[in-house]
């Protein structure tokens, strides 16, 4: 067992974990954070995307021991303090940027990462930025619209 200390969604967590434990399994099975789904389990689909130190990663392809000392944000930690949704979450709801919803947590977190780097992306840049996240319902049109809407909202909020 290896000891790790990780801040998950703002809460500091300590655990003794098997080195082979995947981050997504630690989140879901040990911490009960089942908002992060497992999709393909082959690092292809991006459903399990979380942020590590603010950058998107596929949590099925990261060992829990590799995030020792780091900060992990799941979809459940994105909601701001008073329960209000993140602008990206709101935009996904308003633009109907989801159908079955399975890819949504990963899509939202990948979008948050994209917008932190590029606050005013073109449609092409949004599509490129989300290339690692697959929607099996093929609902990309509204997802792209949601990210553009969130970007505008977030730019307005900071100016």
């Amino acid at each position: 067992m290896t000891h790790i200390g990780v801040t998950v969604d703002g809460t500091h967590r300590h655990a003794d974990v098997e080195p082979r434990l995947l981050l997504v399994h630690w989140l879901r099975e040990d911490l009960g954070l089942v908002g992060t789904p497992i999709g393909c389990d082959t690092s292809n689909c991006g459903a399990c995307t979380v942020l590590v130190d603010g950058r998107s990663v596929k949590s099925c392809s990261v060992l829990a021991v590799q995030v020792d000392g780091k900060e992990v944000t799941t979809i459940q930690g994105l909601t701001v303090e008073d329960g209000e949704w993140h602008p990206v979450q709101k935009a996904f709801k308003e633009c109907h940027g989801l159908q079955c919803g399975y890819c949504t947590p990963g899509m939202v977190l990948a979008s948050v990462d994209l917008l932190s780097e590029n606050p005013d992306p073109t449609e092409e840049e949004i599509r490129q930025g989300l290339e690692g996240n697959l929607c099996r319902c093929t609902g990309y049109h509204n997802i792209v619209k949601a990210v553009a809407t969130a970007a505008a909202e977030m730019r307005g909020g900071t100016s």
């Binding site: 290896t2 098997e18 080195p19 082979r20 995947l22 399994h25 389990d41 082959t42 690092s43 292809n44 991006g46 995307t49 590590v52 950058r55 998107s56 990663v57 596929k58 099925c60 392809s61 990261v62 060992l63 021991v65 590799q66 990948a110 990462d113 994209l114 930025g129 290339e131 690692g132 996240n133 697959l134």
Partner: protein
């Protein structure tokens, strides 16, 4: 699937990593970002008894300006390579190609050195190293040695790095005066190159003074298109001359046939992508 059990050693120096690998015998693997290794472990294609994590070895996280070359640490991530000021200024081909590797989440974790040592024939980074005649700095129990790119890539998923050795850094020559471009053909949802071409040319007064072309996935390892380089060198930097030279891009190659493309289509892609890559590298 869940990987089989292994011991985990987090190295803080290159020496610690080499010592851990030596102690573990042939059954250890080096862990960088894990973006190639973890899928392999999860599919149980490999079951090492020890993983030696080098992702936070300080020396391997640096990009150093050596004057005529850059020394890029093996644990620098693909994302960092894309954005590093020294890389974009002096080896823009590496930054441009890094942006075409996988997807953002994988680029955040995957490392330049890991991509090279994994040596997937469809990987993009090995081809850039090969076209630039990079040097690989490898540390082992007997000290350090430098391996030229021509000798580094040995076979499918096989490099000159021994089981008790670590790739520390890759030395890439600065490309002042050169134009360059990496062109790849891949399926939209999967970024592995079906075929890729890296080109670098130095144009002097309308003539191609020097030309380098390397191919991804046209054999077990990245290979130089020597006949294209010879045909380009000394010739005019024109679309016609480049198109004629690119016709020999598939000569001497041995591409595989798989579900994505048969060998003949790969040869076709090599010619087409070589023409495009050299044309862009020449600024036409």
């Amino acid at each position: 699937m869940i990987p089989s059990s292994f011991d985990y050693v987090k190295a803080s120096t290159v020496d610690e990593a080499v010592a851990a690998l030596t102690a573990a015998g042939e059954d250890a693997k080096v862990l960088g970002g894990g973006q190639s290794l973890l899928p392999v472990l999860r599919l149980r294609l490999n079951s090492p008894s020890v993983l030696v994590d080098v992702s936070e070895v300080d020396e391997m996280r640096q990009v150093t300006d050596e004057g005529s070359a850059l020394l890029v640490g093996a644990a620098v991530t693909t994302y960092e390579v894309m954005h590093h000021d020294l890389v974009t200024a002096h080896v823009p081909l590496l930054a441009q190609t890094a942006a075409l590797v996988a997807d953002p989440a994988i680029r955040h974790r995957g490392t330049f050195g890991g991509s090279c040592t994994h040596a997937d024939p469809s990987g993009d980074m090995p081809t850039v190293a090969r076209v630039l005649d990079a040097e690989f700095v490898v540390a082992g129990p007997g000290g350090r040695r430098t391996v030229p790119a021509a000798d580094f890539f040995v076979d499918f998923f096989t490099t000159a790095v021994g089981p008790d050795e670590v790739l520390v850094a890759v030395r890439l020559p600065k490309m002042g005066g050169w134009g360059s471009h990496y062109e790849k053909f891949h399926r939209t949802a999967q970024a592995w190159a079906i075929v890729g071409v890296a080109a670098a040319v130095r144009v002097e007064g309308g003539t191609i003074a020097e030309a380098r072309v390397a191919l991804t996935n046209m054999g077990a390892t990245p290979i130089r298109a020597a006949s294209v380089e010879a045909a380009l060198t000394g010739g005019p930097a024109t679309a016609e001359a480049i198109a004629a030279a690119a016709e020999s891009a598939a000569d001497g190659t041995s591409p595989t046939s798989d579900t994505h493309a048969d060998a003949e289509f790969r040869r076709h892609l090599a010619r087409v992508l070589t023409k495009r890559a050299v044309t862009k590298a020449a600024g036409l």
